[in-house]
């Protein structure tokens, strides 16, 4: 499950779009392919962003890459595109995009949109590295994972409690036996005291 590239694109409803920030992880390609793959990713992202209506989410399949695009529209007319492989689950991809766009919109003022090269958004790199694992990106998935872990722990606890129950039963039996024996002991001692008073 890999993310190949993430990009934030300014996508006005008319006219062309411009990439505002992007990060890509092309480590899985050979050295000679990296250049062309990178260009392809950029072009792909731009085209998909242009073709996505404001307020819509879209997934496009291309050979073995899938691009998920979310055009947020709004006053900034931002759109986010993520290119990943087929295995990456769809829903966390979109929630990742939503988070990315919100982050971007809060950090970068709208005035600098016209000057793409001047935009500094280093968080996008952290996005791509951190969120190779989809459960990190999506709170829902993370909650589900944690819940599953908790369930496993609880199952082990219940097994422990069962064993404790067995040991307690064991203890009860033994203590009952001990109690009977000590009673016999007491009686014998008493008998000895009362019986041989002759001497």
């Amino acid at each position: 499950m890999k993310i190949f590239s993430i990009s934030v694109i300014l996508a006005p409803s008319q006219g062309s779009s411009t990439t505002l920030a992007s990060a890509s992880d092309l480590s899985s390609f050979s050295f000679y392919q990296k250049g062309s793959v990178g260009e392809f990713m950029t072009f792909f992202s731009k085209t998909v962003a242009e073709r996505t209506q404001p307020g819509q989410r879209q997934s496009v399949q291309e050979n073995n890459y899938t691009a998920h695009a979310y055009n947020r529209g709004g006053p900034e007319q931002l759109a986010g595109v993520i290119i990943c492989d087929d295995e990456y689950p769809v829903r966390p991809a979109f929630s990742l995009l939503t988070k990315l766009l919100d982050d971007f919109a809060s950090k970068v003022p709208q005035s600098s949109f016209s000057n793409p090269s001047a935009i500094l958004f280093p968080e996008i790199n952290t996005f791509i590295t951190k969120y190779q694992d989809p459960s990190q990106a999506d709170t829902i998935m993370r909650v589900q994972q944690e819940l599953d872990e908790t369930k496993i722990i609880l199952h082990k606890t219940i097994e422990g409690v069962l064993q404790r129950g067995e040991k307690l039963d064991n203890l009860v039996d033994r203590s009952q036996q001990l109690s009977a024996q000590s009673k016999m002991f007491y009686k014998t001692a008493k008998k000895q005291n009362s019986c041989c008073v002759i001497m």
């Binding site: 085209t47 589900q144 599953d148 009952q176 008493k190």
Partner: protein, 338 residues
């Protein structure tokens, strides 16, 4: 209605009556037995058929109950049409079978009545068989009424679910049938990298040079193709986009539902755990009580032994005295005897 089997009681009654009336009238009894034998066999034939029909009716009722349960489910997605239609078919066949069986039973009864005697016993027999047949027919009629109701309920539910499906997913079936060609960037040619790419980047941003002539991609351009085609393409695109929105939202809602169920499960596990620990509390209390008993017993025994020891050690002088007295007596005895 639970059917009670009181054949044994009946047999006991018959035996007692025959034994009572057997002594004065042996020959009549033989004749009666013969008669009973024949009529009994025909009666038992009739009762066999009637019981078979009754059993079939009850099994059909069971199946009908199952069908009712299935048909009552108003879920949108978990419908099981194959099972329901199979069950309906089976029940229909069963009802037809039962009808035939009851008709044959009735004709059999009529045959018997034509053959039978006009004695009081025969008339009673005739009445009894008629009643049994009426009972079976009424049961069958009620079963088929229930069946009809269930079918009506089922059609109603299907209509409702279809309405709801249309409400949620505004796609018509025709749009759903062609997703691949509707996708904006449907590119059946392979290789995005390598030789294809340079030509692409030469073209302008909005018009990639697809050699396949993907119709809808071209339709998305604004003024070239003419308004109608453009609108159709837009319409399709809209529906598919909304479908995707819906899919996204649906997947979110399913994920959240699964989280909710997991949390509920966790809650149950916690309550189970608490129960088990509470049960074990009793055991622990028993162990505690036992151990206290052991302590007191052992303490008491120790006291006794100490007392014994004390008495032993203090009694030594008395013992010496007693021994001395015994030895004195012994000597006296020896002296007296010697």
């Amino acid at each position: 209605m639970p059917i009670q089997d009181r054949t044994n009681e009946f047999k006991a009654c018959v035996d007692s009556i025959t034994s009572r009336s057997s002594f004065p009238n042996r020959r009549g009894e033989h004749k009666q037995k013969l008669l009973n034998g024949k009529a009994g066999s025909s009666k038992s034939e009739f009762s066999r058929m009637a019981t078979a029909i009754g059993k079939d009716i009850s099994s059909t009722n069971l199946k009908l109950n199952k069908l009712t349960q299935l048909a009552k489910r108003k879920t949108l997605f978990d419908d099981r049409p194959v099972e329901i239609s199979e069950l309906t078919f089976i029940i229909k066949q069963d009802i037809a079978n039962l009808n035939k069986q009851i008709a044959s039973l009735r004709s059999y009864v009529k045959q018997q009545n034509h053959k039978g005697s006009t004695s009081a016993e025969g008339k009673q027999l005739e009445e009894h068989t008629q009643n049994v047949v009426m009972l079976l027919q009424s049961k069958l009629a009620s079963t088929s009424m229930t069946f009809k109701d269930v079918l009506e309920l089922r059609t109603q539910n299907m209509k409702e679910s279809k309405d709801r499906t249309e409400q949620f997913m505004s796609t018509t079936s025709s749009a759903v049938q062609q997703p691949p060609s509707n996708s904006i960037l449907f590119n059946p040619r392979g290789d995005p990298m390598g030789d294809g790419s340079p030509s692409r980047f030469d073209s302008k941003g909005k018009r990639p040079a697809y050699e396949n002539g993907d119709v809808l991609a071209l339709n998305l351009e604004s003024a070239e193709e003419g308004a109608q085609q453009h609108q159709n393409g837009n319409g399709f695109m809209q529906m598919q986009l909304m479908e995707q929105q819906d899919t996204y939202l649906q997947s979110r809602s399913t994920a959240i539902e699964s989280i909710e169920s997991t949390i509920a499960e966790l809650g149950q596990i916690f309550t189970q755990l608490a129960n088990m620990v509470a049960e074990q509390r009793e055991t622990v209390q028993r162990i505690d009580a036992d151990v206290m008993d052991i302590q007191s017993n052992v303490g008491g025994a120790q006291r006794e032994l100490l007392k014994y020891y004390a008495s032993i050690s203090s009694n030594r002088w008395l013992m010496l005295k007693i021994f001395g007295v015994l030895i004195v007596f012994f000597l006296i005895f020896i002296l007296v005897s010697g």
